[in-house]
Symmetry: D3
Subunit: 229 residues, 6 copies
């Protein structure tokens, strides 16, 4: 038996709007270096940058049937997250499903599998982060679950968790941590902006971050010339 | 002893012209989900889209000599398909060979190995689908066969088979199946166009494809809330 | 104990300026097919093309502290080369470090690890060749060496060796060989230019390079039709 | 700040003893094809087969400090599960740590990273499932968490969940599902035993599982000879 | 529609018996360095060595239904060759299917996918060459073809072609070439045996194969000491 | 032009004999965590353990000619190190070359490429560490250098450097550092032996290495129960 969960809690949309402009690297730092998906999840075109609550969808290997079921559970602003129940790089998703998601106001797709029709998806500006690009088609024979917690590319994603994706990759922020991560990201960005001006002016990280003494204590030595081997 | 086959049968050029605009994903579906090359065959720039009869060329590892032999066998509209006799990612092909192929009216290159000078190839708009990008050079010491059947990236390609490549990858269509695949691709495209309008209007695949009953029979259950673990 | 070598010999800057326009594939050929880094070192955007003396920097896995130390050793025109002491794909380098290097006139970064903030790096036009793109952050706990000889992506690089990188990959030229490689690259390019005109005119490599007799001697046979299997 | 959770709930030891003889493939089937770790988790020697409650341990890349912390949390019969906070294949674990775990009665190690001293571990009969074998050493500079939920090789593992590993790989069973999975595994095994006898006697799966009619309905056709291409 | 071809031509069994003791490397050389499967096809235990006519079986991703159909087509002495229609590493095959094949006198399995229950298969001495070891189960929903030509791990295999597998990997010999390859393998082995005695006696390949003059002509130079860099 | 260097300096054989019993992990630690080859270099059988001075040999892709040249340069006790000039996994080495090396008293082979005839090599007890096992044969057309410095699997090896290989992998020790590394390895081993006894007795690393206070200072906290998410 498989289930589709129809009611999920999403983070406050005002918060999502505020956190959306932040990059994946910043948000990942802001929440203590957690929540990153594996580096093999890459955007099909660049630049691309989205943020939204996750609708999660399991699929059988080589079978995209459940994506059609998941589409109905998506609301405007959501991000669809698709995970195969065993590793598969088939092209589960193409231009028709993208048209359907775009018609519902979905922001984009995260899929730990393959995608196809990428020339059309690029023209449509429907962003996808995937493990592969592969024209291999799928069947519609096997059911699975929608809106249950999943592990996608090494990260646990629960329905309604916030997913942010940009050119650096994909990060998930727990639904209840969005406000906290936003505050930390803002603080981090402000500090980085101040430092950026100092870097532009030619100051060194060694001085901006007061590293010289700690480096010396660790045993770092400056020598004029490389000793002979 | 190695051979170069000088007479190969190509598909009717009028058919090739008609099938050329179709995408790899569509054609692969139209011929029963067969003929795809492995997903590691990627275009060096995007978008790119070609179709033409295959001239096939075996090469020894680290040795591009036979490509020069194969060039002479190419006619305007052909696609050159290069396969190493053992796995190799060296840069077998660069701007001079591309200039030579372009001068003969060849549409592009499919190579299960490496390619180099890709900045120039991109400027020239000479499309290549390859397994790797690698500046590593090759020698000219060992001969092999031209225009014999080959296995390229997991797919069997015979000389004169139709090769179609786009941003999604590469597909091969048997020479005698082109008319049949064209008809099926046209039918598929027409049906997809009709469905696309319904997707644009917000209809769901669940309804367009009448999936709800079959999903219920398989045991799909809708629940309001995720049961406690 | 770790060391930072503060005095390194760089190749003559006039020579660097002359060799800079040559591509990686040409230079690699010109120096006898040596010095290439592995093909997994890819530019974060294309086209990109840099040349400059190497400042080398070791880093511990998941620890980018030494990059800050290395920045101070860079002069205008240099290329920073970063190598982890054990394999790691973390995002060691982002927009702040790029700002710092750009402020010092550094041409670009070669890193056998991950990089992040690539949307910003692309906007800044700060070129990076890396093994991965990954938002995963790093710590600052462990020291290592700056300006010692390293092995980067399979190639040995000594401080002050010339590094050239373009869309095809990365090549290192020994500091004392730059003049010699330049001369060979120029000779090669001139010869290729002459041949290019012949290729454009439709001549075949078989004739331009006088290959037909040697191919026949090796046993190459032309047949009309493929023999039956 | 990092935490070490000192009290975790383990499954009933009598249940563990009963489920321990079952293989990974059987248990994975018995719990609805969930809970498998990725196929790159391989035993360092074969045959090997263990089962026990998980003590989970995060480690920084290239840093095995927290394993020493985790050892203290292990009880006889436990299985230690080690996960790096970013991908790393260093040799986190060798014969001294194995001696320490063996002295505490720990059954074995699951580590999504590298291991070393495998000749000694094999002699000691201390089983390890790892992502890599690599002599590369680690430092002790950075702290992380012990006994928090982790994602290991694509599967979520909570402290106290049951981990079973054999030559086929590793599976995790939720702590509260052990009794249920045991019952299903027993039923499955009994059924398989009955079928095995029929297979030994030369009966076909086609008949044992009554597949012939359903295959025909799907469109399977028997032909004497392959039609001409 | 899918087909099962029930009549296939097998090579003469006396020939198969004679060629069976030869190793994969020798046979691959004897037929002109063709017919090797990719190096990722590895035996689940070593040593192992089989030879027999191929029964070929396509399977859908994550679906092992057709293996049951293929079993019925196998005769004593055959080798079953299983190929997924898109890349998949699931565990398609375990101890029950092995029991069934063993009961029919099948020599072993070649599968470009995953296998499980390998501890039992090893005890049973049922040899398998596979792309992966993975406990992930499969379904029985989708049909495909049996005894049609396939591409397995980069090599084309037709039903009835001879498959030989040992610790070095897997090679396919065309059905009609078995006698010819056998003769060449015998000649090669005899020559190698004579050379082996000379190698054992301390003679060098340089002299046994008369290489010194040709090396000198190519430009090989002996120097006492490495010239300074 | 290619060269063969006939005179190389080897480390003192008494030293080699003393260092030979130490494992790769220990020696790598003893020389400051340097000199390891990449983890993809694996022994063809286990257990295996060798130590000896390196004779280095470059080979062209798919061409094993130079191995025959290198054999002549080997003395009893040496280890042959073979590196392709571009990445290649062909089977460069088999039982005849092993017979030749064994007849000369060579300890084993390190090859960043493929090897074949491994069943025979295993019977002969001739140990090989390779990147791949592959029956694919090679030609003898292209020359390269013997006994020049090489980069093998990411590590620089000069002729006469000491190579040690065991089940954990391969490490290179600079010729002039052997005495120093031996002393450090002995000291390390003695210390580890003392600690091993304490581990056997059930003491914890936390106490043996006095880690508790430093962990607390870094911020490690012990809690009874996992806080609610």
């Amino acid at each position: 038996m498989s289930i589709v969960v129809t009611q999920i809690d999403r983070p406050d949309s005002a918060l999502v709007e505020k956190i959306a402009p932040f990059g994946v690297a910043t948000l990942h730092e802001a929440q203590g270096r957690t929540g990153l998906l594996a580096s093999y999840m890459r955007p099909i075109y660049r630049p691309a940058h989205i943020a939204g609550p996750a609708v999660t969808c399991e699929v059988a290997p080589g079978d995209n049937w459940m994506i059609h079921v998941a589409v109905e559970q998506c609301r405007p602003g959501d991000v669809l997250v698709v995970v195969p129940t065993s590793p598969c790089e088939d092209g589960y998703f193409g231009d028709l499903l993208a048209t359907s998601l775009a018609a519902r106001g979905v922001k984009g797709l995260i899929i730990e599998a393959g995608v196809r029709d990428i020339a059309t998806l690029t023209e449509m500006k429907f962003p996808v982060w995937s493990k592969a690009i592969f024209a291999q088609g799928t069947v519609k024979e096997t059911i699975a679950n929608v809106n249950v917690p999943v592990v996608c590319a090494g990260a646990r994603i629960r329905p309604g968790d916030l997913v942010v994706a940009d050119d650096d990759g994909v990060v998930v922020i727990k639904r209840n941590s969005v406000a906290d991560v936003l505050a930390k990201a803002q603080a981090r960005e402000e500090k980085e902006e101040r430092n950026r001006l100092r870097f532009v002016a030619g100051e060194l990280g060694l001085d901006i971050y007061n590293m010289r003494q700690r480096l010396a204590e660790k045993g770092l030595n400056y020598v004029d010339r490389l000793p002979e081997e």
